[in-house]
Amino acid sequence: MGNEDFTGAHLFQLNLLIFLTLPATDGKFSPIFWESGYQIESISPTLTLPLPLIQKAKENNIKIKPAVSPEIVFSNNSKKLFIIVECKKTSFSIASSNSEQARTYLLLSGNLIRDSLGKSVRDNWGSVLLYLVGENHREGMIGTLKQLSAELASMGAFPIPHTVLEIKRETDGIYLRISDEENKLNITKVKDNGSNKIKVLHLEKGDDPRPLYLIPIDPSVGMDSYGKTVMEERTRLSVASNLGRKVGGEFDFIIDEMLASVISVWDLWEDSNSKRKIRGWVKTYITNILNILKSNYFLNYQYASGAFHIESLDEENANKIRRYLESADFRKGKLELPVGEDGQLKLFELEGDL
């Protein structure tokens, strides 16, 4: 892996944002969203507009989408504020197809989000739209959002406040530049320091900015090579962990439970299409490994309803399986399975669906 600039990469941006909501005082991150009272409300939720708004946009010939799935929704429970977060490598103009999505976000009031997410109607919520963009795209993105807001206001709608964070790598870290003079996001560090440039990730010379990915893949936006490597490593690791601990006894190996350890935000992730694809890959991967164990060490299993039922096994073969799982070949993914030129199992080339 080289010293490329990953700041525009979708998965990097997504994982960075997640880390910025996790408590930390002594790591490489400065978790500005956690410090300001935000947490992750949902990942890729589907948010919908009410029919009258859709109709009104249609009457005014303004293109919107009836439903959208932003990357993340943050929430601040004490301020009753949602942030709709969308990551983009570059800005876009109002002529771009991305504008349809942006207009829809701008129409999502806090209470509409509240209702889409199934929260109690007892409280009134506000909302802010946040775009995270790559370096030198801040001005362009602000310009587009201003134009789109004006357009929506002209049809009598009430667009929500918007703001843009520009991500930039410098020699000593990753910075976020906030184009937000009113500090609509209520970021504590901005209030305290009066600066709109915040270092969110500290880097020493030779460090890589990519954190341990909590979301290694997102099929809806494609996959980067690092994310693929991480997904393969973690899937193999999870198989080894489950089998190493439990082999010998009878147990169930539930795919969704395994995926919750492979992808920490699995249960918060609401993109059912992406999740179905991932389940399919993982099911095929595990089946291939279990077939090796079946033919070499007599481990029997059945698959039904998203779970492998593993049968009990004598101690001698169970120990042989543990030794196999500890082997360098298994660790490196050099299995008798579809492999690439580098000898790595190609998880993503496996076919399967659930």
Partner: protein, 416 residues
């Protein structure tokens, strides 16, 4: 066949009078029999149902006979002799009290633990001991004597393959002829090691230790701490790998000190797990129902200074690429940059997952839900022993030392 004990009371009384006799012999510098040694064992906490004690130790050649709900007498099925008494202290923790010689028990028990996927030693890091030491400084009569041992070995200085020997870890073993023979047969590799031990009055120790730590970082890597007995003479030597030797005249006090330490250890382990486990968890929001939230926080271990590049590289190669050394971690190191390495790894001891980011300045850990907090204790203990004695550990936004201080207060508040 050895005597079969009928009740807990009989065992405790026997060990109490046995301890008194040994203390008298110690005072006369003529020990006729072995001191009482206790080995603290943690069992793997899974979401599954609790395993029976027979299942937990089935890897051994022991026959475990029940005395009461929590106390067992352990026999060696081959020799027909008593190994010791096993007591379940709390749900996850067991202690084996034994009167056997070190060379008859220590290697055996370490092998059982090493070969088991359900058992682990309790691991007392230098940081854990130093917090306990502060309690001793604050509460025990300053005229009492205390014994401390500090050890640091630059295990990763040399690139050669070198398996850590399976010899007993405790001081007493240094006197053991059989193990000396094994030592002589081992490949001798020179590397920086430092080991200091001293016995002094509590008052002197509390004054001098901060000064020593400023001069030599090894004084942060406390590997043995002798608690003075609270009811009589002598004390209880706690080793970093969960062994406790009774050098006092009271077994009951010995057991009490073990109970206190285990309770605190259990609290901190559960605290780490509750705070650090990454998962989505359902939380109740008053009358409005429930919602899922992302829980978890990274654990950061910062080195006192940037690790020497050679040591850092050897650590990665030996630990992960060759699967050697004391850490027993498994995983493919992914070199994401010149200095940064990611490992999505396994703690091979308990087959549990752990995600690790390494740089020469710090280690960041992510624990997926289910990974035992004991993995963190073992990692911290080994890092202080083999990489850097003076590390700073934070669990999210809290320092490890502060967490311990708060939990100690909780233990005191509840009078336990």
């Amino acid at each position: 066949m050895d005597k079969i004990f009928k009740s807990r009371k009989e065992i405790i009384n026997y060990l109490e009078s046995y301890s008194k006799e040994r203390k008298s012999e110690l005072d006369q510098k003529f020990l006729k029999k072995e001191l009482v040694k206790s080995y603290l064992i943690e069992t793997f906490s899974d979401q599954e149902k609790q395993k029976s004690i027979q299942d937990l130790f089935k890897i051994s050649t022991w026959n475990i006979e029940k005395i009461d709900e929590d106390m067992y007498q352990v026999f060696d099925t081959i020799k027909g002799t008593t190994v010791g008494f096993l007591e379940q202290l709390f749900r996850r923790y067991y202690v084996l009290y034994t009167l056997l010689k070190i060379d008859e028990i220590e290697r055996n028990i370490m092998k059982i633990i090493k070969d088991s996927v359900f058992l682990d030693n309790m691991w007392f890091s230098g940081n854990f001991f130093l917090q306990l030491l502060r309690v001793i400084f604050d509460t025990v009569n300053i005229e009492r004597y205390i014994r401390l041992k500090f050890e640091h070995e630059s295990f990763f200085e040399e690139p050669e393959t070198f398996e850590k020997s399976e010899k007993p870890e405790s001081e007493e073993a240094e006197e053991d002829v059989e193990y000396r023979k094994i030592d002589e047969e081992e490949l001798i590799i020179e590397r920086k090691t430092s080991s200091f031990a001293f016995t002094d009055r509590i008052e002197e120790t509390s004054n001098i230790l901060p000064e020593l730590q400023k001069l030599v970082p090894t004084f942060y890597a406390l590997s043995l701490l002798r608690y003075p007995s609270l009811v009589g003479r002598g004390g209880h030597e706690f080793y970093h790998f969960g062994k406790v030797t009774n050098r006092s005249d009271s077994f009951k006090d010995h057991r009490n000190q073990i109970l206190f330490t285990t309770r605190l250890y259990g609290l901190i382990t559960e605290y780490i797990e509750a705070k650090a486990w990454f998962c989505s968890e359902k939380i109740l929001i008053g009358s409005a129902g429930s919602r899922l939230v992302l829980k978890g926080t990274p654990i950061n271990i910062s080195f006192s200074k940037e690790l020497d590049r050679r040591i850092y590289e050897n650590f990665i190669v030996k630990t992960f690429e060759r699967g050697q050394g004391p850490f027993r971690l498994w995983g493919n190191p992914i070199r994401v940059s010149d200095k940064t390495v990611h490992v999505y790894g396994l703690d091979l001891h308990l087959w549990q997952q752990i995600f690790i980011e390494l740089t020469p300045r710090r280690i960041t850990l992510i624990l997926p839900k289910g990974t035992c907090g004991n993995t963190i204790h073992r990692l911290i203990t080994n890092i202080q022993r083999f990489l850097d004695p003076n590390i700073s550990v934070t669990i999210g936004d809290e320092r490890y030392g502060d967490i311990m201080k708060n939990l100690l207060q909780e233990v005191v508040k509840h009078g336990e």
